[in-house]
Amino acid sequence: MPRPVVMPKLGQSEEEGTLVRWLKKEGDGVAKGDVLFEIETDKALLEVESFFEGILLKIVVPEGQTVPVQTTVAFIGDPGEAVPEITVPAAKPGKGEGPRASAKVSEHPPVAAAGGEAQARAGRRIARERVPRPQERPSPPPAHPEAPSIFKISPRAARLAEECAVDPKVIVGTGPGGRIVEKDVSSYLDTKGYAHLRVTPTAKNLARKEGIDLFNLQPSDDGGRIGVADIETALAERPKPMGRMRRVIAQRLAESFRSAPHFFVTVSADLTELDSFRKELKSKGVSYTVTDFILKAVAATLEGFPAVNSTTDGEKIWWHSRIDLGLAVALEQGLVVPVLRNANKLTLADIHEQATELTARARAGKLTPGEMTGSTFTISNMGMLDVENFTAIINPGESAILAVSSLAKHPVVRDDRVVIRSLMKMTLSSDHRIIDGALAARFLNAIRNKLEEISLWRRLV
C-alpha cells in the first residue's frame, strides 16, 4: 500500500501550511530523512523530511498551494503501485489570493503566545479584543476597479474585448440589466481611439495571454509602438501577493506601531575595553560575539526593570515573570526572532552556545514555530551592517526593543584630551503607555554601565 505524506502540524497555532517547493519529482527514489518539500507557515520556511522509504509515486498538492495541516500532499510506495484517488480539501492557491487571504490570516492573530502565564493570558486577551481593526477591512486596492458582482457581458462582446486585449470591466453596458454587448465594446474602442494604438503582433499576443489592458500602457519605443518590452514592464509592475511570512510580518509590525506609541532614547556605549577583552579571549581560543555580551547585559538589567519586561493592551499591564530574549535575525524573505528562554539564568557561555545555534538554524530555515514565539524583550543587532544608528519597532506582546548599531572608532574627549575610542550606539524603542522617558533612560544607562564595566566581564567568563 502506498503511504500518504501529510502536511505536518508544526506548532500549536498552525492550522495550515503553504507548500512552497517540491525537492523531489514524481518517480524519484526517496530515502528516510530525505527532504521532500519546503513549507511556509505563519512563522517560518521549513524543510519537511520523509519518514518513509520508496518511490515518490504521486504529488497531490502542487507548489504554491495552501492546505490545512494533516492533508495528504503525496504518496510514497513501491514502483508501479496504484495510488488512491483523492481530492485536496479546501485547496486554494498560494498566489493571487489578495484581500481574502489577508483577512484569513487575521483570524489567527499571530500574537506571541505561551511565554509564561501572564503572557499567555495577554495573548488571548489581545486576540479577543482585536476584532474590528482598520486593517481587517478589505484592504489593498485592486489593480482596477473590481467588477460589480453582477458583471454581465455577452460572449461576443467578451471575445472582442479579449481579442483586442482590453479590460471589459471598465466598459459601460447598454444591454438589459447593464449587460455589455458587442456594440458597447466596439464603441468603447472607437472613443478611446483603439485604431490609433500601435502594437507589435507579439506584444498583443502577450497582452491577451497575460490579461493586460493595452489602454493602460505607455509605449517606450521611439516609434510610439507598444512592444514586448512594454508588456514586460507592465507585468513586472503588477501587484504581487506578499509571501505568507512577509504578510505576517507586515501585519504584526503595522499593528504594533499603530497601537503602541513609540518613543526613542539613544546612548553611546564605549566598548573599547570590552572589545579588546573579547579579542584577548579570542586569541586564547575562547570566542564570544559582541551580541553575546549585549544579550547577557540586557538579561541581567531586565531583572531590575520589570516594567520593561512587560506588555499592555492599553488597559491592563502584564509583568512577565520570565526573561525570554528574542534575537532578531535577518533572512532573505524577512526577519525571524528566535528566543533564548530564561536568558537571565544563563551563563555567558550558555548564551553564546544557544545564540550561535539558534541563529544558524534561523538562517537555514530550520526553526520550529515554538522556538520563535513568546519572547518578552527583543534585541535587534545591525552591527554587522555598518550603521550609525537606527530605531526598531516593538514586537507585539512586549513593551520595548533594543536596536544595536555598529561598533566604530570615534574621537572622544577624555580629561580634556581627544582620544580614539570604540563606540556603539544603542537605541531603545519603548511603549509610552507603560514606559516613561526617565525609566527608559535609566534602563538604557544600566545596560551601558554593564557593558563598560570590564571587571564584571572578567568575573563572568
Binding site: 507589435t200 503582433p201 507579439t202 506584444a203 499576443n205 502577450l206 495571454k209 521611439d222 512592444g227 514586448v228
Partner: protein
C-alpha cells in the same frame, strides 16, 4: 583653435555616417582619419574580401556551368586582375565617401587623433604621409564620437616572415598561393578558406575551438562544414592549436597535435586589437575595459558625458552595419535632446560558400535563456527557384517563442542567404509572430518563399514538406 560642435574620430562605417548625420542635424562637424576614408570595412575588410569572393564564386559557377547546359571550356583566372578589380571597386567607393562628406560640409582632418583634454583633440599627421607636410593641430570639440575600430594584429607566437600574413597584407597579394594554412576558423578565416578553395588552392583551417564558427546555430555549422570539406576540399582541423610554427623561403609549417601541416602561406585570421590606446583617453578622463575596448551604455555614451563611442572600438559585434547604426544613434543623441537607444536586432552575414545569414537567437541561446521555443525549418532544395538556379542546397530556420509565437531568431544557409536574412531582421525587429509571417504572401518563384514555408512548418502546417509521420509511411511502400 578651431572648434566644432561634433568631432568624429575614425572614418570607418561607424564614423563617417555619424559625421554626415551630425552635419545634417545642424552641427559643425570635423572628421579625423589617419588612413583612408571608409575604414577597415571599405579598404581592408568587407568590400575587398567580397570583391574577391564574387570573382571566385563566379569562377566556381562557370566551371560547373555544364550542369546548367552551358559549354564553357578552358575557364581560368588571373588573380592579379581579380585583385586589381577589387582595388578599383575600393577606389570608387572611397571617392564616393569623400564626395558625400564634402556635400554635407564635414571638414576632414588627415592625421592621428588623441585627446589633450575632454574637449581638445590633437591631430598629428602621420609621419609616413609626410606628403601632406602639415603641422599638428589642436581642435576643440563640444561632443566627440570615437569610431576608431580595431586594427589587424599579428599574434605574438607567430614568426615575423613574408610567408606569415594577416588579412590586410593577404589582400595585397598579387598572385594566388598554391596552398594556405588558415589559422582561425572564425568568419574571416572561413570566408578566405572558401574563396581560396573555389580558386583551387589547397587550404587547411586550424581552429582552436570545437568547431568552426563557434556560436552559430549548430545545424548551420554542420551544413557549412560539410560543404567546405566535401565540395571545396578544405581540410578543417578543430579543437587543437597550431604550435611550433616556422617559416623559410620555401614554406611555412607547424604542428597540430602530432600532425605536421605546411603551406606556401599562413593567414592569421584572428586577433584584431583595439585602437583605443592611441587616443590618450586618460586625458579626457576615460578608461578602457579589460580587453582594451571603450565601454558604452545603450545610448552609445561613455562615462564622460560629452564623449560617445561606436563600432568595433566598443568591443563588438564587429560588424560594419552595426557600427553604422550605432554611429547614427550617437550622432542623433549628441545633437538632440531626445535620446535613442542602440538597436539590438542586428543580422550577421557570412560570405562563405554557401552563404550564411543569421539574426536573433539561435536555438541553443533561446534554450539557454530558459525560453520554451519551437522551430521550423525548410530545405531550399524543395523550392522551385532553388532548383531553377541550380543551387538546391541549404535551408532556412525560424526559432519562435512557443507561448507568444514571437519570432526570436532566423538562420539561413544557402544561395543568397546573406540577402534573404534582411526579411527576417525586419520581422524580428517588428516583433512579428510566426503566424503573421506565414500569412504574408511571398512572391513565387523566389528563394524568400522559404521563410513563409518554414513559418508554416513551425506551426505544424507545412505545405511543401511531408510531415514526419506521413513520411515514415510513404517510405514503407
Amino acid at each position: 583653435m578651431e572648434a566644432f560642435g561634433v568631432v568624429v574620430i575614425g572614418a570607418g562605417p561607424g564614423g563617417y555616417p555619424a559625421a554626415i548625420r551630425a552635419a545634417q542635424l545642424g552641427a559643425s562637424v570635423a572628421l579625423v582619419e589617419k588612413e583612408d576614408l571608409g575604414g577597415t570595412c571599405l579598404n581592408w575588410g568587407c568590400i575587398p574580401t567580397k570583391c574577391l569572393i564574387s570573382s571566385s564564386d563566379l569562377y566556381a559557377r562557370v566551371k560547373s556551368a555544364g550542369t546548367m547546359g552551358l559549354k564553357v571550356e578552358g575557364a581560368s583566372f588571373d588573380y592579379a586582375a581579380m585583385s586589381d578589380r577589387k582595388d578599383q571597386v575600393v577606389r570608387t567607393l572611397r571617392n564616393g565617401v569623400k564626395q558625400l562628406l564634402k556635400a554635407n560640409v564635414v571638414k576632414v582632418f588627415q592625421g592621428t587623433a588623441s585627446f589633450q583634454g575632454r574637449n581638445r583633440i590633437l591631430v598629428s599627421p602621420e609621419a609616413a604621409s609626410a606628403a601632406s607636410s602639415s603641422e599638428p593641430v589642436v581642435i576643440g570639440a563640444d561632443k566627440t564620437i570615437i569610431a576608431t575600430g580595431t586594427s589587424s594584429a599579428m599574434p605574438a607566437f607567430l614568426p615575423r616572415h613574408a610567408r606569415v600574413l594577416e588579412s590586410r597584407a593577404f589582400l595585397s597579394l598579387k598572385s594566388l598561393p598554391s596552398s594556405v594554412l588558415v589559422l582561425g576558423g572564425g568568419v574571416i578565416g572561413c570566408e578566405f578558406a572558401c574563396m581560396l578553395g573555389q580558386l583551387g588552392a589547397r587550404v587547411t583551417v586550424v581552429e582552436l575551438l570545437e568547431d568552426i564558427l563557434w556560436g552559430l546555430d549548430a545545424d548551420v555549422r554542420r551544413e557549412l562544414r560539410r560543404h567546405m570539406e566535401k565540395t571545396l576540399g578544405v581540410r578543417i582541423l578543430t579543437g587543437g592549436t597550431l604550435e611550433d610554427v616556422s617559416a623559410d623561403e620555401r614554406r611555412v609549417r607547424g604542428r597540430v597535435g602530432t600532425e605536421w601541416v605546411e603551406a606556401d602561406v599562413l593567414l592569421a585570421a584572428f586577433g584584431r586589437k583595439s585602437t583605443a590606446e592611441q587616443l590618450q583617453l586618460e586625458n579626457a578622463g576615460l578608461g578602457v575595459d579589460e580587453r582594451g575596448f571603450i565601454a558604452v551604455d545603450e545610448y552609445g555614451r561613455t562615462q564622460v558625458a560629452t564623449i560617445y563611442a561606436v563600432g568595433d572600438v566598443t568591443g563588438g559585434p564587429f560588424l560594419a552595419h552595426a557600427a553604422t547604426s550605432q554611429g547614427l544613434v550617437a550622432a542623433e543623441n549628441a545633437c538632440r535632446r531626445h535620446l535613442r537607444r542602440n538597436e539590438t536586432c542586428v543580422a550577421s552575414c557570412i560570405f562563405t560558400s554557401p552563404e550564411i545569414g543569421t539574426v536573433g537567437l539561435s536555438e541553443q541561446e533561446a534554450q539557454h535563456q530558459g525560453r520554451k521555443i519551437k522551430t521550423g525549418k525548410f530545405m531550399l532544395g524543395a523550392l522551385g527557384k532553388a532548383l531553377a538556379i541550380g543551387e538546391p542546397m541549404g535551408f532556412v530556420k525560424w526559432v519562435a517563442d512557443a507561448e507568444t509565437d514571437q519570432l526570436l531568431g532566423a538562420h539561413a544557409i544557402g544561395p543568397h542567404a546573406t540577402g534573404l536574412i534582411a526579411e527576417a531582421a525586419v520581422a524580428i525587429r517588428a516583433e512579428l509572430t510566426a503566424a503573421e509571417l506565414a500569412r504574408t504572401v511571398h512572391a513565387h518563384p523566389t528563394l524568400a518563399e522559404a521563410w513563409m514555408e518554414a513559418a508554416h512548418a513551425l506551426r505544424d502546417e507545412p505545405i511543401h514538406t511531408i510531415p514526419e509521420r506521413t513520411r515514415a509511411k510513404a517510405g514503407d511502400q
